[in-house]
């Protein structure tokens, strides 16, 4: 199975956000960019979810309430008999989306760091559970070596 063009758009976006979060979150200047890292962690994970939902024809959630995307991903895992453990990271990230983006209350840097860790764990789970998003570059007619 190869990755569809639409899914690839979301995967590329997800990975660009991920790389940006890693770059900005690299110490020592992480204190400067912590809120941006948190936001990128949330949006990279949402984009990865969209890539998966599109790839498996479940349809991307257009709702602003991204919790529905987490539900859809869980449903997809159930339908395919896959491990769902990674969805908890997505749920936690989505739960913090509004607070990280628009909330008036101070968010501690540790929370942004935790968000980055959750993003990493969510991506690891996604690649292991759905290898099609990890193995996107080979030509369809490439011969095994």
């Amino acid at each position: 199975m190869s990755l569809s063009l639409s899914a690839r758009v979301f995967l590329e976006r997800a990975e660009a956000f991920h790389r940006s979060a890693e770059l900005l979150g690299d110490d020592p200047p992480d204190r400067l960019y912590a809120p941006a890292v948190g936001l990128l962690a949330v949006h990279s994970s949402i984009s990865m979810t969209d890539a998966l939902l599109i790839q498996f024809d479940t349809g991307r959630s257009k709702s602003e309430d991204h919790a529905t995307a987490a539900q859809a991903l869980e449903k997809l895992c159930s339908a395919k008999g896959h491990d769902k453990s990674g969805v908890k990271h997505l749920r936690e990230l989505i739960r913090n989306k509004t607070r990280f983006s628009y909330g008036e209350a101070l968010v501690r840097d540790e929370e942004f760091k935790k968000a980055k860790l959750r993003m990493e764990q969510f991506f690891k789970w996604a690649y292991q559970t759905f290898p099609v998003v990890a193995q996107t570059e080979e030509e369809a007619d490439a011969q095994p070596v």
Binding site: R19, E22, F123, Y127, P131, V133, A134, E137, E138, A142
Partner: protein, 157 residues
């Protein structure tokens, strides 16, 4: 046996590579793709060990690094790199790096990438991509999955 500098350079080299990768697994002095294969100073496998493998040979000077290219061209990995200390190029290696022709395999796509190791303030080492590696064609994902499934990573997220 690798010099102290070459051993130290492995860290900046992998840090340079991970800027391009997502949750990679990093292996040092790794026999790629199997235990009976040649060993490489740094092997980085993208996407938690499921994706593209990047293999790197690190040498202190440019001429020594360039001698590794022939072997790299015959290796089974989508991305292949050499790394050396900036400023160590002699005339011949400088010309080879300008022309880049030795970095390509005849009759196929793909280019061996070049990473420069930089001496920074305070004695720290950094690394930058001088020539980007281009993907060699082939079906390599099964090698990545088998390798990451049978080897413990030195650096992992």
């Amino acid at each position: 046996m690798p010099s102290q500098y070459e051993l130290r350079a492995r860290e900046p080299v992998y840090r340079c590579l991970i800027r391009r990768l997502v949750v990679p697994r990093i292996y040092f002095n790794a026999a790629w793709p199997r235990n009976d294969s040649d060993s490489y100073d740094v092997v980085a496998i993208d996407r938690d060990g499921q994706g593209d493998a990047h293999i790197v040979q690190v040498r202190e000077n440019a001429a020594d690094a360039l001698t590794q290219v022939d072997n790299l061209l015959n290796t089974r990995a989508p991305y292949r790199w050499i790394a050396f200390r900036r400023g160590t190029e002699d005339e011949q290696s400088a010309l080879a790096l300008v022309s880049q022709s030795s970095l390509y395999a005849p009759g196929t796509a793909g280019r061996v990438g070049v990473i420069e190791i930089v001496d920074m303030a305070g004695g720290d080492l950094g690394a930058n991509v001088r020539v980007s590696a281009e993907r060699f064609p082939g079906a390599f994902y099964a090698l990545s999955t088998a390798f990451s499934g049978s080897h413990n990573a030195d650096v992992q997220y």
